[in-house]
Symmetry: D2
Subunit: 446 residues, 4 copies
């Protein structure tokens, strides 16, 4: 049995930041990963490749009034592939430089200090003082007849993906962020997009009042809510989706019904607690067994790459402190960006949440219709809204439109550091960037 | 004589924020402006129109490898004009909504409470408890034979500008930020650009070590330093610039030899102190006469639109407090962005400055070559550098490349609020945005 | 009618800070006060004189094991009188220096801009753009037969007070902070103290769990809870208090049944809203009429001198901003100290409150039994407890014992600025002061 | 050879916080100490016992106008002894609870991982991955004839000390803080105190302008500056100190000529760098050998108990991070209190220092003569001064008088967190505590 200070199950964003940090501090670390490469979903089929496509489409969209230009989706995909290729090679080099290794195989927890790996060619056992479970999440495929006919995000976003041209029409099953982001750019590229959502609205995990502001700004997509998919079947050279209340025929069907945590085997034997949302951890990222950590999507707290990285580092810090916690995760300060066109981003406590929590709160809003950069970019819509409590502390905020994914970071810093509306009001943000809206909004109260 | 609580001389970014704020609080305010419109240089010929052109060129530049596209400079200029038109109409509407008036004419200080205006059709006098001098700055035209043959930034950036096509070749006299920004986009659009700089390097007001990192990344421009322009003369249908050490022939010559404050008449009579850099003020924006303020470019502290706005508000707050100061300007926290392609942005105390000030300091750097978004945008170069002191407080920072003008804002907030490197290290910035570099850089020390 | 920019009704801690600030900024201000002097209850019969007595007793108490010493209560009272005299003369001098005036008389609101004053010798009217109601609070005397036989805090704490010796026995009606503070020092000085409280525990406005920790540390006092006073009557040369469930005979009876706001006449006519707790105001200190402010005890938010001062300044700042608010009160950051021996102090959100609000929270406690200074002072009991949320932000805290009234200020600053437990953990507080407990407590999580 | 993760040389405030923290996190730790007990100078003969005496004298001093009281110095010493006894037993219990051991003996560095201990009965060797040198400092005895006739701070402050009565007269050689603190309380107790200082002023390590404010407030002490001691000799039953410019006869002579670091043997062999001020370390507390740390007085950075504790924790944190630093010392935020009567305390950058560093700075001062608590305590003198830069950030501060050692902590927090003058101006500090001066001072600029 091989002896390690730390074993990670997984080698994506919830694992490798810890591995690198621990290695740098002299710890003996090994990563175990199904794919055998340093990449979670984010790089292989998630945020990086989708953003590579979306960003190209977004620039095209803002330029099309100004320049003569024509889209070739194949070239966009090629670009996306080149980005992924570059990142994979970055990662390989970094692994080598750090002298870190990944064992390809599926990890299983045997006891509090042992992970067993099925490498395909045999079974190996790794003993570790500490274990980080970072097994991520995977696309959830509902049990629907014909679901194998549908594509998934993987078919759009993996390396050399199946889909290299824009379908004339597409039916997207699931109105979560993956479906809506994909539908959004396809619509701009000329696809006729229909989204089917079981619940009574799309983007249901987000606040209604904010989504209601976003939806009119999105590219045209047909949305059917409160609608259940019964089956998918071939229909000539197209596909037909049968619903409880009708049917839709399109060239392509995408399954985007959400994601679920990938739990490693052995949790039950060890008595590690979990729910369907993921493995239970405290803010130190410890499971109920104090030397076993669960970081990233697998714990379901904040299933985002950037949260996973932070959680990974927290696990590393707490491992170095002998599992007596000295570092803690702050879920409130993690921003989320929906990469539709336009974007929506938010962080912290939003008005509807504040309402539900009984927090007296106020809003300071900047209308993007008056924003210099929005005008420069021909995107004269959206807003920046800061949410603050009666103590004038910024407790949250959201941005719709141009640069949402940028601006939200500064609001997140405000939320993280407990800054006040006045702290923003007194800033001189760079002109003409949309960040100016942060001080403009705040100045309404100062 | 008309009686006012406050008179502003000027109606640009250093004047109207104060005017609006004071009006909202019940003060009787009038603005006096040469152009008679609510716009300083920034909108009429400065940051807004230049950014409108540059941003279009920038997007073109990042897309040209991915999409088929062709530039028509005339359309870019049309777009720029439309942005300016939109902003002017925004401003008009805002003036009307606030019930604020602008007197067209040139203001002159008569005594501590009186401004005289030559309206062209007559002389009017305005009595005011408080005066805000916000007369801005103007292009400096050196005394060179043939200088009238040269264009200025106005010919590129004013509404319906003289220049509507890209010159085949251009000689830019002056290697300051205006010349370099203009040269940068012209070069991308195919112009052969030569910059003539009297001093021994371009961008001389900025730190050498940082500029040395930027220059190799800029579009190709020929630069002649330590070179003095003797005269400009016609040469067939071209122009010839005669230097102390040679001559250059090009289709167009641009004069970009810097800007100087526009001082109103009457300063000497009142004994208001000033230098060639502008009117002397303290951090409360008061001149040596406590009810007379000087805000924006005219005081020369931080000649940037966003600084002018903040200074204007400070003047308003201190006027409301009866000229007993309660609000103060922080020049250290104001970011500056050079809108070349790629951008350079910086804020606070930079390494070379820290060195000169004798501040023990360190740097935390993020290499943009490893940045997801930089890769997505095909701009795999540049860096984010955080500067911190031995107390681990962030005292400054700079960004080269993709999104510099965005990222610098969050660094500015750190500088403003005295945040520490750890405060950034613990953030989960949005992925995949270049803001991730902020926490990555900081984590090298945590 | 006399014209003013601002009229304050009252001249205590809720009025004069605004008056001084506004005057300094050139505003024309007048204060109207019943007593005609710059002093609210705090100086005339509240916090200052009571603290002067208590502090002497406290020092006596800690020294009595070390030095030979004997108390003469008369001398303590003389000292108290000298402190009050000194402060009154301070105030007079400050008034003179600021050229501020107080009109002696009772103010009545006539309309939104008029205050009428009955000066005793006539009626005067003052017109003001803005009005600050700062009429304070007064001892509440319940309607009990024989209540005129009881003394009040005034008889202990006013200048040259009625009570100049320690009663052999005293019955205190009311277990609020005034009764308990007075009982506490009297007990140390040898008095037999009985407290009668109608509710089921004393100090009922404070959190049970904290009070339960304090009570065992207080000097011996008999406490009868859930007990109602029926009447007070003479009984030989003593007084008998008849209760619903018994009777108590003692040398003195003190009425300490709480305080109620002193509302000026005219509120109803103007439609200014109030409850029995005081005049309704927002965090800008504005009543429902935006140029009429109510500050200090009269609004019932945080009836403490130091809160009144801050509220007064807020009113001044908002008046200067033309009643468009720019300054706001933060009730959460105001510390409260119970000047018993030992002291109890608290600020922010306490555990029981956090529980009720549904805020996930934790506690970091420092045991004063291990504190160097507590040992030096022979007061080896009590604790410092920091309350923090799951984000590790300090949301409140309390201190029992030695220096509570000092230490609570730094915790208040943490609450005000949104500081984190780590921010305290990394401090090096002065040794050997009890402030060390702040970093010690925090370090339990770092 | 015994194997440990960490060996500390010393068991005082620079060693045991690290030992406890590391032990708690599962590290195998041993402390080596000459005295064999968990106590540096602070407890055995420094800040704790001196403060126990001084605080008793201080209370006596403030009460003597109010109560009848008489001092018996012997009882004060008894009290001091009891405090020390209590703390020693606290420490013993804590050691036992943590299962930590101290080896009595003198540690010597043999190589980068080996400490040799001479236990008196033999030589032992300890192997350690990491070493913390925490050997402290000791009284410096200059080479003067007759110096053995002088007492030192040990004779006043150690357990069951030699000195149990107040000398009628005393000559103190050295005007540093130890001499002046001791002289200060002895003077109040009736001793005739003379201080001899070689340099041209006492308290020479502190800023002249501040010391000049303190000196007139101190109890009467004769001070001879620029005076060199030649020898000490017996003179009847007294002692005569011969100076270069005269002689002084007194009952007792105290040697208080400063302290010097106690360097362990072996530094030179290992090439560990040091100066006469102590061992060189960076802000991570690492010597030039990265697994060997030097914390507390031995590094000479901030020779104070509370700084030592923090430095000790920093060493522990960096050891846990594999000697790749993650925690850093901030010398600017450490307060210093001079326990004279009245006290002087300061922190951060003081005006004279700011001047020397070329930092534009301002001062906000609160006059303690107007302070309620100062009046209550009969100590109507002194001040609170906040030092801030042109950005309005609090960079330092000092307090003279009542509660200096308390108030300085909140200023230290401001300095540490980069808070602004406004942050203090908006606080409602507890009334009537001298902390009110913090907001009062700040409000002069707001």
């Amino acid at each position: 049995m091989k002896e390690y200070d730390v074993v990670t199950i997984g080698a994506g964003g919830a694992a490798y930041p810890a591995a690198f940090k621990l290695k740098r501090s002299g710890y003996n670390v090994i990563m175990i990963d199904k794919k055998g490469v340093m990449s979670g979903n984010c790089l292989s089929e998630g945020c990086v490749p989708s953003k590579a496509i979306i960003e190209s489409v977004h620039k095209y969209n803002t330029l099309k009034g100004i320049l003569d230009l024509k889209v070739d989706y194949k070239k966009i995909v090629d670009h996306k592939d080149s980005v992924q290729r570059l990142r994979y090679s970055d990662h390989d080099r970094e692994l080598g430089e750090a002298d870190l290794k990944i064992i390809k195989g599926t990890g299983r927890l045997v006891d509090e200090n042992t992970v067993e790996v099925d490498t395909g060619t045999g079974i190996e056992r790794y003993h570790a003082d500490n274990i980080i479970i970072a097994t991520g999440a995977d696309t959830f495929i509902p049990n629907i007849k014909g679901s194998e006919l549908a594509v998934t995000s993987r078919d759009f976003y993996s390396m050399d993906p199946k889909i290299k041209s824009v379908p004339e029409s597409i039916t997207i099953i699931g109105g979560g962020y993956i479906g809506v982001e994909t539908g959004s750019f396809l619509s701009i590229l000329g696809s006729r997009v229909t989204i089917i959502e079981m619940l009574d609205r799309i983007l249901e995990s987000m606040e209604t009042d904010i989504i209601d502001k976003l939806i009119p700004l999105l590219p045209r997509m047909d949305v059917k809510t409160s609608s259940e998919v019964k089956s998918i079947e071939k229909f000539n050279d197209k596909l037909k989706v049968l619903l409880n209340d009708g049917e839709i025929v399109s060239d392509m069907v995408m399954m985007a019904a959400g994601r679920h945590p990938v739990l490693p085997e052995g949790l039950d034997d060890l008595g590690i607690k979990y729910t369907k949302h993921g493995i239970n951890v405290n803010m130190s990222m410890q499971t109920n067994i104090k030397n076993i950590y669960a970081t990233g999507d697998v714990n379901g707290i904040t299933p985002l790459f950037h949260a996973a990285k932070r959680q990974s580092i927290i696990a590393a810090n707490n491992i170095m402190a002998g599992n007596v916690p000295v570092d803690y995760f702050d879920p409130i300060s993690v921003p989320f960006t929906l990469y539709t066109i336009p974007q929506l981003a938010y962080v912290g406590i939003l008005p509807a949440q504040a309402e539900r929590l009984g927090i007296e709160h106020y809003e300071a809003t900047y209308d993007m219709k008056k924003d210099s950069l929005a005008e420069i970019n021909n995107e004269v819509y959206g807003e920046i809204t800061l949410v603050f409590d009666k103590r004038m502390k910024i407790i949250g905020g959201y941005v719709i439109g141009n640069d949402a994914g940028n601006i939200i970071n500064e609001i997140a810093l405000c939320v993280s550091r407990g800054l006040s509306l006045r702290d923003l009001a007194e800033m001189s943000h760079q002109h003409p960037m949309s960040f100016e809206g942060l001080d403009s909004a705040a100045r309404k109260f100062y």
